[in-house]
């Protein structure tokens, strides 16, 4: 909402400096977002002196002037009759933007260069005179800006209004706030009552067929109008707040709307069939051409203003081309209505059409303000348009608005705000904004808000009004007294924090990616057609295709990060992310949100360093990270099993393991499939893991229990067996542990070898077995006996041989 200081001063005396005014408004809830000068458009207009005038060689009516701009002499082509040498006149330089929106450029006028324009009052919107250039009196220096030469200054405040303050969508509304700040009263324009005679009823009528959409409709009729340009004062008001003047009738309706917040519409009465108004909802599929020359498709929930035959306006939103005010218009019907805010909002949303009028109606205008505004506009039309006002107005108000008084407890107000506020204090705050306050009992006030404050419906609304006018910063800052009890911390949060800490300890960097991805990511990941990651939830109104569906995997995000970093020549990267993925249960249901943890390692095992060769990281690097992470979470029994080839999609077959804990799959670890690398335009190998945190959470609930430390020394025995290459090496350890031999304390696989002298198709696996007992130091022969038994059992069960 823009207001100019000079317009505000029509209704309230302002003594404050504009900066102080802006900060006072901001601190009472009307945030001033900017302060500009309404004459800013004159920034490129300077005082020029006509040095020399000569005839234009190619045009009789034009002259060529040499004009002193203060720092140079320029040539200007001018056709004004009143120019003589040595006069001072406003010279618009190239770049000037005139109030009608046109931009002045250096140009060629009938073969002569014109480097500026000597302007009339009218052209600069400084007055009505357009008979010739504006001759400047006094002795302003050439080259000074016209705004300072003429001391033109009118500040314009741009106010960011919150949706509740529809009462401030007018100059008077803001003047009211300023009056309250300064403890003054608003000087309203003289409010005239309509004529008692009801002549208007002889000429027209209004029938409301949809009262729930249109609780009130008032109209006035002005005849013998001359449509023309508005006078200077009116144009100036509109221009000051960035509105473009159109003609006197339209300008008056806009002026009154800006002044008091009541949107008005002017119909050419002669174009209204049967000279009457019917307010009804649209027919299904009805179409209508609005003033902006666009065809609109209507539906039965939209309210229409019609004449005896046809639709003439979309109520509260926009009028129609078919009843527009034209230069030929002689009779004008002015509409001043109160439309249901919800109805207008729905219509405006559905049509995607928001106007100054709809903006006000949907936020709620003053239900009692219709007739005042109507009469104000009608009288201005008689003054400015030389019209004749037909006696009386029509005021159809089938649903009468009642302002209900609200009871306000003084003690509760104090309790909510945390301050002792006395009765007089609250009263004076509320009365300063025209609330009617009566004493009821020792603790209660009966408050009737003015009709324009449609946002005030309950006592807490009054408390807010009292608080904001009292000043939030005058309320003491205190600490609450509240029960100290607490609850268990969120397990999800504890786990997430732990994972993040462990991953950074393992030298990974945390990434955060958008939760939406491109739908094509599924294909890029080579997901099978029945993969549940294809259960995508679509965003109906995405910003772009790249962000059109909710992610079902964290991997596309990490691959995208990898691509970005590679393009920045960062080729060694260890990233992880924890976040939700979203599995659709259909667009109309909340999706399943699953928290996932994923990591990506690409590039070398070490950065270029003196102590190690540059070796690319591999499967066992990323697997080690997963093992470290799970162990850090205090979870045992993690197993990695070969992922069946048919289940590998974005990871490479044969280089992928499924991760399970206690038999429950929690995710996978593996190398990114070469085709996926190509799909993401990546030119180096990458290794990833992706784990389901929800499942991990189920497995972390075990209490820790301490184990006694061994009292007796351990004995170790190594064994190297040659087994078929196909056997997973770790299955030997699993087998060993499955024997249930109590004296085995620990087993480790410490070497694995293929190639000569191991026969083809075989590999040698070396295992260290640690024997120990809690009761005694083991004798060698006791250990040897067990060891030989175990060895033989292994050889038998794996069809193995001992190494030579």
């Amino acid at each position: 909402m823009k207001v100019s200081l000079s317009w505000l001063k029509d209704y309230v005396n302002i003594e404050m400096d504009v900066q102080d005014l802006a900060s006072a408004l901001t601190m009472t809830g009307l945030e001033v977002e900017s302060i500009t000068n309404s004459f800013d458009y004159l920034d490129n207009v300077v005082v020029g002196r006509i040095v020399e005038i000569s005839p234009h060689p190619n045009a009789e009516k034009l002259k060529i002037c040499r004009v002193d701009t203060g720092n140079s002499i320029v040539q200007v082509v001018c056709g004004a009759p009143n120019i003589v040498e040595n006069i001072l006149a406003p010279l618009a330089l190239p770049g000037t933007i005139f109030p009608d929106g046109s931009i002045l450029q250096k140009c060629d006028i009938r073969g002569q260069v014109s480097e500026g324009m000597l302007c009339s009052e009218r052209e600069l919107e400084l007055g009505d005179n357009k008979s010739g250039v504006m001759i400047l009196s006094g002795t302003p220096e050439t080259g000074t800006k016209i705004s300072s030469a003429l001391s033109l200054s009118d500040f314009v405040l741009e106010i960011g209004l919150t949706p509740n303050r529809s009462d401030c969508l007018s100059v008077i509304g803001i003047a009211r706030e300023i009056a309250a700040i300064q403890k003054l009263k608003v000087e309203y324009p003289v409010r005239q009552q309509p004529d008692r005679n009801k002549d208007i009823q002889k000429y027209t009528s209004v029938r409301i067929e949809a009262p729930e959409h249109c609780p009130r409709y008032a109209a006035a009729l002005v005849t013998d109008i001359t449509v023309s340009e508005s006078p200077f004062w009116l144009r100036k008001r509109l221009i000051s707040i960035g509105q473009r003047p159109i003609n006197n009738i339209v300008d008056i309706t806009n002026f009154v709307m800006m002044e008091c917040g009541q949107p008005l519409h002017a119909f050419d009465f002669n174009l209204l069939a049967e000279n009457r108004i019917v307010v009804r909802t649209a027919e299904k599929g009805e179409t209508f051409i609005t003033l902006d020359q666009k065809e609109r498709i209507l539906d039965p929930e939209m309210l229409m203003i019609c004449d005896g035959e046809k639709t003439v306006a979309i109520a509260g939103v926009m009028g129609g081309l078919n009843s527009e005010i034209a230069n030929s218009t002689k009779r004008v019907l002015i509409e001043s209505a109160y439309f249901n805010p919800l109805s207008i909002r729905k219509t405006s949303k559905k049509l995607g059409l928001s106007t100054e009028a709809s903006y006000r109606f949907e936020r709620g205008i003053d239900p009692l303000g219709t007739v005042n505004a109507l009469v104000r506009a009608a009288l201005l039309m008689t003054e400015i348009g030389n019209g004749k006002l037909t006696g009386g107005v029509i005021d159809e108000n089938p649903l009468i608005h009642d302002v209900v008084p609200i009871e306000l407890s003084i003690s509760e107000t104090g309790r909510l705000l945390g301050i002792e506020m006395d009765r007089e204090n609250i009263k004076s705050c509320l009365e300063s904004i025209e609330f009617d306050v009566e004493n009821t009992d020792a603790d209660t006030l009966k408050v009737t808000p003015p009709s324009f404050r449609v946002d005030i419906t309950r006592s807490v609304d009054l408390m807010e009004e009292a608080a904001r006018l009292y000043g939030y910063n005058n309320i003491p800052t205190t600490m609450p007294f509240i029960h100290a009890e607490t609850i268990q911390p969120l397990k999800t949060l504890v786990l997430r924090d732990k994972i993040k800490n462990i991953m950074t300890d393992l030298s990974f960097m945390e990434a955060i990616n958008y939760s939406f991805i491109n739908e094509s990511s599924c294909d890029q990941l080579r997901l099978l057609s029945n993969d549940k990651k294809r259960k995508l939830l679509h965003v109906l109104n995405p910003i772009n295709e790249e962000q059109s569906v909710m992610r079902t995997s964290l991997i596309p995000g990490l691959l995208e990060n990898m691509r970005r970093n590679l393009s920045q020549q960062v080729r060694n990267l260890k990233l992880f992310e924890i976040g939700n993925v979203f599995l659709s249960r259909g667009q109309d249901a909340l999706p399943e949100e699953v928290e996932m943890a994923a990591g990506l390692w690409t590039g070398d095992r070490y950065n270029s360093v003196w102590y190690a060769k540059e070796i690319g990281c591999d499967f066992y690097d990323i697997k080690g990270i997963v093992e470290g992470l799970i162990s850090g979470l205090n979870i045992n029994n993690i197993r990695f099993t070969k992922m069946p080839f048919e289940l590998c999609c974005y990871t490479k077959q044969g280089y992928t393991a499924q991760v399970t804990i206690e038999g429950r799959p929690i995710g996978l670890v593996g190398e990114i499939h070469p085709e996926v690398l190509r799909n993401f335009n990546l030119k180096q190998r990458a290794f990833i893991f992706e784990l389901n945190c929800n499942t991990i959470l189920d497995l972390t609930n075990k209490a820790k229990a301490s184990q006694p430390l061994p009292k007796f020394p351990f004995t170790t025995r190594d064994i190297t067996v040659i087994i078929s290459k196909d056997i997973e090496a770790m299955s030997i350890l699993e087998k060993l542990n499955s024997y249930g031999e109590k004296l085995i304390e620990n087993t480790q696989l410490f070497d694995i070898f293929e190639g000569d002298p191991v026969p083809p198709g075989k590999k040698s696996v070396s295992v260290r077995i640690v024997y120990g007992s809690a009761e005694k130091t083991l004798e060698d022969n006791e250990v040897n006996g067990i060891h030989i038994n175990i060895t033989n059992r292994l050889l038998r069960e794996f069809n193995a041989s001992l190494s030579a």
Partner: protein
């Protein structure tokens, strides 16, 4: 021949004398007494001498070898006794074998800082789904369908009744539905709004706070937030509470802090105002309490919310919010 071995001896002794470190001494020792050393070669060559010269030369050479061995021993022990460490060292300037931690995303770091401050004040932490029903995201928070306040947030829709949550405020409602007052929680999380430029990303992070009980006042809200800002920034960062509007709080306030860059003098960051808008807050609207079945006659409370990106940008001097989600290694490693 004798002359030669004497010359060798003299030369060797001179070199031993000038040796400054064990390493150089060792090198000299190798030069003379090593397997291919000068003295060793000399001894080997004795066999090639005429027979009569051999015993004398051998005797002489062995004598000299002993002299030199003694000299090496003496010098070595004196080098040792002088300062043994000075001659036994490694290049400590070389980088250690890597054991560097990674780093938490700056958003995680600041979220943790925020949560830490509030949990120390006694708040619990709550979370909720990122995709919400219209009811929790809007209706329960006193934002009915078609209310103009819906324009305050550009919403991503999944269907008519399902949205990507536009704020973490739905968690307030979910918590109050489950728990009786008093309640004091903060709710961090991702939120989504259809907006994208240098200060907006379609996804960002918020921390919401809620304190509800008997006699919780607007003054208390000021107290808690002032304490928070002083800990998050510093004691000199003053606060300003401005009347504003949120459908789910009343009275509502925007909370500005003194610009952390210019300390109120006016700069580019604060658009010359000296103030930065960092928090929205207010007293919980009775309509919200009614929706969760709290007794509005007894219970009052306040709620507040802040954007984590905004605070992180101010803390670390980051000028483009989009950097947070590009995950550029060179950006992430700075935190």
């Amino acid at each position: 021949m004798e002359n030669t071995i004497d010359q060798i001896c003299t030369e060797a002794l001179r070199e031993i004398e000038t040796a400054k470190s064990k390493d150089s001494l060792n090198a000299i020792s190798v030069k003379y007494l090593g397997r291919k050393g000068i003295v060793t070669q000399f001894l080997r060559n004795i066999s090639k001498l005429p027979t009569e010269e051999r015993p004398k030369a051998g005797e002489k050479a062995n004598e000299i070898k002993k002299i030199l061995e003694k000299a090496f021993e003496d010098t070595a022990s004196s080098l040792n006794s002088q300062s043994p460490e000075a001659h036994d060292y490694i290049d400590v300037s070389l980088q250690g074998r890597s054991a560097f931690p990674g780093s938490l995303h700056p958003i995680t770091q600041i979220t943790r800082q925020i949560c830490d401050i509030f949990t120390r004040m006694g708040f619990d932490i709550a979370e909720g789904p990122e995709i919400e029903s219209d009811y929790y995201n809007f209706e329960a928070l006193n934002i009915p369908k078609y209310h103009p306040a819906r324009d305050m947030q550009d919403t991503f829709y999944v269907s008519d009744n399902i949205v990507l949550r536009t704020h973490t405020s739905p968690i307030q409602v979910r918590v109050m539905e489950k728990r009786k007052p008093p309640v004091k929680v903060i709710a961090p999380g991702k939120v989504y709004r259809s907006d994208s430029d240098i200060t907006h990303t379609p996804m960002f992070h918020q921390v919401e706070g809620l304190m509800v009980g008997e006699n919780i006042s607007f003054g208390n809200l000021k107290g808690i937030l002032t304490n928070f800002v002083h800990l998050m920034f510093d004691e000199k960062t003053s606060l300003r509470f401005r009347p504003s509007f949120f459908p789910f709080t009343e009275p509502s306030a925007e909370v500005d802090i003194l610009c952390v860059m210019c300390r109120g003098n006016g700069c580019r960051i604060c658009s010359q105002t000296g103030w930065l808008e960092v928090l929205g807050a207010g007293m919980v609207h009775p309509a919200v309490f009614e929706n969760v079945g709290y007794d509005t006659a007894k219970i009052t409370g306040f709620a507040f919310g802040m954007g984590v990106e905004r605070i992180t940008m101010l803390k670390y001097g980051i000028d483009d919010i989009r950097k947070f989600f590009e995950n550029d290694f060179r950006f992430l490693r700075q935190f």
